[in-house]
């Protein structure tokens, strides 16, 4: 009977570039407590922090992958980042993917969709004037699309708009 089967916790891949996006992602951590978590970011320092934090709390450190940092203008680096993320997703096969931005999250959500992952895009709180560029491109296809600014939920008759459910700070 399925109801007697022990629930297997979802596998979640949480991904963001190393700056303010990462700081925001970390503030959402309780949302996936109990999941098997795989982190992806663009700085080895972030990896060290996460491992140190796990040690401090006496828990086993989560899986962490570092991918190359790439700005919007660095096309070759973006291609490498895309390939790295594809490889990670093929290995991990997460049930859920969550990102706060920017390029790495965009790639992960796009590729993850193809593998049938459920996806979450939390647009950065830094984007208070308009939804981020990555958010605009990938938000619509995300299963859960959130903005951190209530005024950005209202758009002219377009039904596919982000929801507002609060802020990271």
């Amino acid at each position: 009977m399925s109801s007697m089967k022990k629930e297997i916790p979802p596998r979640i891949l949480a991904i963001a570039s190393a700056g303010g996006h990462w700081v925001q992602l970390m503030r959402l951590r309780p949302a996936w407590e109990g999941c098997t978590v795989y982190y992806v970011s663009t700085s080895a320092n972030r990896k060290r922090e996460v491992i140190q934090d796990a040690k401090n709390r006496d828990v086993s450190p989560p899986a962490f992958y570092v991918v190359i940092e790439a700005s919007r203008w660095e096309k070759f680096k973006l291609v490498r980042q895309f390939l790295q993320i594809t490889k990670i997703l093929l290995q991990v096969r997460p049930d859920v993917i969550i990102s706060t931005g920017a390029a790495p999250g965009f790639f992960a959500l796009r590729i993850g969709k193809l593998f049938g992952a459920r996806t979450i895009w939390v647009d950065s709180i830094a984007n208070s004037g308009e939804i981020s560029l990555s958010g605009k491109k990938v938000g619509k296809s995300a299963n859960l699309w959130l903005t951190q600014w209530e005024h950005l939920t209202v758009t002219n008759g377009n039904c596919n708009t982000p929801r507002y459910e609060g802020k990271v700070v």
Partner: protein
């Protein structure tokens, strides 16, 4: 001590220059700056001690020691200051000076200007008046540190989705 930090990516000449100019005429506070790699033509401060980059440990020490943080209007800087309950003076990086890709920091600075302990300089000409202002009001700033996590509602929404509770 005032801790100026431009982060690990791009330098921020406009800010560094303005803080140096203030230091040249200010005798009350010392500044330490982490200014990034100024490059061959970049500005090198003459009136305060600085380094291009510092280790995470040094960063933590300087942060603890500081009475005021000066930085760009990025969310990393802002959230760290709010969590650590440190007053911070922020100035937005601008696309027109190739300091960032777009002007989102202008909006961020506006949005966070009302928070206790956050001072905003709209541009480099406002650095001096804001630092002078901070010196007169520093004892009246009472910051309550914000917690380590996002608003409960946001976390619950995501958690319900992750664990497939409710209808999504």
């Amino acid at each position: 001590m005032i801790f100026l930090t431009v982060g690990s990516e791009l330098p921020f000449d406009r800010l560094v220059r303005a803080v140096d100019a203030w230091c040249a005429t200010n005798n009350n506070d010392i500044v330490f700056g982490q200014i990034g790699d100024p490059g061959a033509d970049g500005y090198r401060p003459r009136h305060f001690e600085w380094q291009e980059f510092i280790s995470p440990d040094e960063y933590r020490c300087k942060y603890d020691e500081a009475d005021l943080i000066i930085g760009h209007a990025g969310m990393g800087s802002i959230i760290t200051a709010l969590v650590r309950a440190k007053p911070i003076l922020i100035i937005p990086r601008r696309a027109v000076f190739l300091e960032t890709r777009n002007d989102h920091q202008v909006f961020t600075a506006q949005k966070f200007a009302e928070r206790e302990g956050i001072l905003v300089a709209e541009d480099e000409t406002m650095i001096r008046p804001m630092l002078d202002k901070w010196e007169t009001m520093r004892d009246s700033i009472v910051m309550k540190s914000v917690g380590p996590y996002a608003e409960e509602r946001l976390i619950e929404t995501i958690r319900d989705f992750v664990f497939k509770k409710g209808t999504q």
